[in-house]
Symmetry: C2
Subunit: 467 residues, 2 copies
């Protein structure tokens, strides 16, 4: 039989075990922190009805959707024809984010949920992107959202940065800054400058969002060009506005005041930002970790108030590692209920890939704490007894079950990232001791059989702290 080449499609990130362990640790940190703030888990199916998935979106998003059909349904000739002639949209599709499934979930289960509904969701999503370095067709999103029924206090907008702070501090990725803005403030400021049309405001907002990528000159040229036709003066005021950054809480409040009076939307946005900034401190986020950044717009029309982006101070090239904001109504396409919310998303696959690229991921350590070697096949029951004890004490233990040279067994442990190796030879068994080898420190010691668990716990705790 000819062999089929073993391969995966481009745009997926498949990891070797030690890398997967590092990835899993990040997932665990995120989950632990989401739960610590009282967010509840949900999971939704990967496959959704395409009419449910594609109510809102069009254009770019729709072209990237993966459609799904089972071979069973392919048999129905009329469906095939419809598909071939493009007369109907296929029935099923893979989700491309977690927000649309959340909207569907909340609308579907509304009567069974308690509001404010605080949910987290950490699952993979699918986008048929063009294959390109750093672009993923399958990737994890780790989302939280708080959904209110009819209304949702602005205070929740201040809780979100506390969650971000808690997550990224524990992810241990160096200094980071949670950058904040408010869409009402932006639109209100544009209105103050004479841009009254809501659609025009959105277009300006999208232009401004390109500031970091394209630079001020490009944005100024576009705004004063044919498409927008703004005066140089107005364009310059917009550019000055979006270049506002704060260096402390007081500085942020001062800079908001310095924008001068404006129309209602602007005043509302400013009041919201001030309340949020004022509360963040009480939520335990230090001033060093958040800032006003009036260029943050987030491309999506979806957001209506507070918006967030989080950047790593020492790795600006990575861009935002956690983004989100406040929206007016989650699920208008499925329900008449008014469901405002606020949320964020961490694109973990891309983040992991970038952090690894930047050398910030430690992938040296296995989940296996201890390898019990096999010196003498006849002593296997003794090795297994030790392993049973260790496992009962919560220590992840692998036993070598194939006979082989001890040196080869050490090599296996080393290669597999297992730090501690136990040796129970004739000597050790006679003396009632165990030899513990620390492959990282290239050190070893003997310990009495009855003291083994205690000794290993100390070693493992030290290893966890010291690395």
């Amino acid at each position: 039989m000819a062999l089929t080449p073993a391969r995966t499609m481009p745009g997926v990130l498949e990891l070797l075990p030690l890398d997967q362990i590092a990835f899993q640790r990040m997932l665990d940190v995120i989950r632990r922190n989401y739960e610590r703030f009282g967010f509840l888990p949900i999971e939704t199916p990967v496959i959704e009805y395409s009419d449910v998935l594609l109510t809102k979106s069009g254009g770019e998003t729709e072209r990237q959707v993966y459609f799904v059909q089972s071979t069973g349904s392919l048999n129905a000739a009329e469906k095939m024809n419809a598909l071939a002639t493009n007369t109907t949209v296929p029935e099923l599709a893979l989700r491309f984010d977690l927000t649309v499934p959340l909207a569907r979930y909340v609308a579907e289960h509304e009567r069974d949920l308690s509001f404010p509904f605080r949910r987290y969701q950490m699952q993979r999503v699918y986008r048929g992107e063009r294959a390109q370095r750093g672009r993923f067709r399958e990737f994890y999103q780790c989302d939280i959202d708080v959904i209110g029924k009819d209304s949702l206090s602005i205070r929740y907008d201040a809780e979100v940065p506390a969650v971000i702070y808690s997550v990224f501090r524990e992810l241990n990725v160096g200094a980071f800054t949670i950058q904040m803005n408010n869409r009402k403030l932006m639109r209100g400021y544009f209105e103050k400058l004479g841009i009254n049309d809501a659609e025009q405001q959105m277009l300006v907002l999208r232009e401004v969002d390109k500031l970091d990528k394209r630079g001020a000159d490009y944005v100024r040229d576009t705004l004063t060009g044919e498409a927008f036709g703004l005066s140089v003066e107005v364009a310059n005021q917009i550019l000055a506005f979006v270049q506002v950054r704060s260096t402390s809480l007081k500085d942020a409040l001062d800079k908001l005041d310095a924008l001068g009076e404006g129309p209602e939307a602007m005043e509302q946005g400013r009041a919201e930002l001030k309340e949020v900034l004022g509360l963040i401190h009480a939520f335990g986020v230090p001033e060093t970790h958040y800032a006003l950044n009036l260029s943050i717009a987030r491309g999506l029309d979806y957001y209506t108030g507070t918006v967030y982006e989080t950047t790593l101070n020492d790795h600006p090239q990575i861009g935002s590692v956690c983004s989100g904001g406040r929206y007016e109504n989650l699920a208008g396409q499925y329900t008449k209920s008014h469901l405002p919310g606020v949320g964020i998303s961490i694109g973990l696959t891309r983040l992991y890939w970038q952090l690894r690229d930047a050398g910030l991921i430690n992938t040296a350590q296995s989940t296996v704490d201890v390898l019990v070697t096999q010196m003498d096949p006849a002593q296997l029951p003794a090795y297994l007894a030790v392993a049973n004890e260790l496992r009962s004490a919560g220590i992840a233990t692998e036993v070598v079950l194939e006979a082989g040279k001890l040196g080869k067994q050490f090599k296996y442990a080393d290669r597999a990232g297992i730090r501690f190796v136990l040796v129970l030879g004739e000597n050790e068994l006679a003396k009632g001791v165990v030899t513990v080898k620390d492959l990282r420190r290239e050190d070893q010691f003997e310990v009495a059989r009855g003291e083994l668990i205690k000794a290993l716990r100390v070693e493992l705790e030290q290893a966890a702290v010291m690395g």
Copy 2:
């Protein structure tokens, strides 16, 4: 705008948060135990190339496969035509199990893996099943496998029941029995009865697998009927063989001996089973939890030696909750390397669904440990300070951020499965205490602010033990 009905396709299990928490706890128990035995995590993409996925399988499996196409590729007219006229298989498909992706993974990354390669994988798989109660189109599989390079000691076949025992004991689903058999023993016994053709042996084996569902008379009639043409005597010997069950280790060994001498395959199977049974004890599995059951065949041609099924003693109608076995060569379709292995799979979605149906799942408790109520909006900073402390101590804490009646806040906690509620009113703040309400026990007590964490830890530990 007309509303789109919010709904999911049949055959998926979407859970409300408290149910999701119970499900997640099961996933965590399984993962923890897999890791405790030194299995390493991997995850593979949901989407695979269909030529990779469908090398081996045909028939039933192929009809159940979900094929995938992105809208981008749908635009290519020739592909559409090919699809419509069924001239080529679509390029991408969703995995229908974790075994084929494992084979592909091991073949693809062979040079980067250490052997024996011990991996666990807990992900969802997809099958386009006919919609039917208890049949899932999307479901979790939680698999472990040990893969050897060239060879793999039979001892690993004895480790597998130890993992099963460890998992199901902690899942807390009542008494269970790991039932074992060996395909070599079965085929060798059939050979002893004069059924020499390997294919014929497989067909008998598949008939025998229906014993529990169809009963002995049905199987006897089939074996003596036209298709098989066996004598009544041979059929009866087969039925006697497959009705062998052991009640203890000694009984198992005795019953294996009582089968009499047989051809080489039978002797090999018996020797393997004896070695496995003999070692299981050293792996710490009590005699009460495993048994010989010579009717266990597992339908798949795939298995070549030891086979396992695990049943719940008090819920036989649930059937096997964890099955697997030994196979000769994992990835022959992708690589010339000889990769024998042994593994098991837990179909967690179905298991959860069945256990819930049988009333064996407790879904009353949230992941949120504590709700901090809001008596006085002006005291919000004090409430947040308490929450920050609790979260730093690892206690999952939600703070009520919307003003509202206290009674309504208690109701919210109760409905959300949050057991402990903190009240910090004027009184408490003046006295430097906190009132802790236990909604489960309908009890409450005051505790000094500085003693709060300690007191809550005691309560939470008690709650975890006592339920």
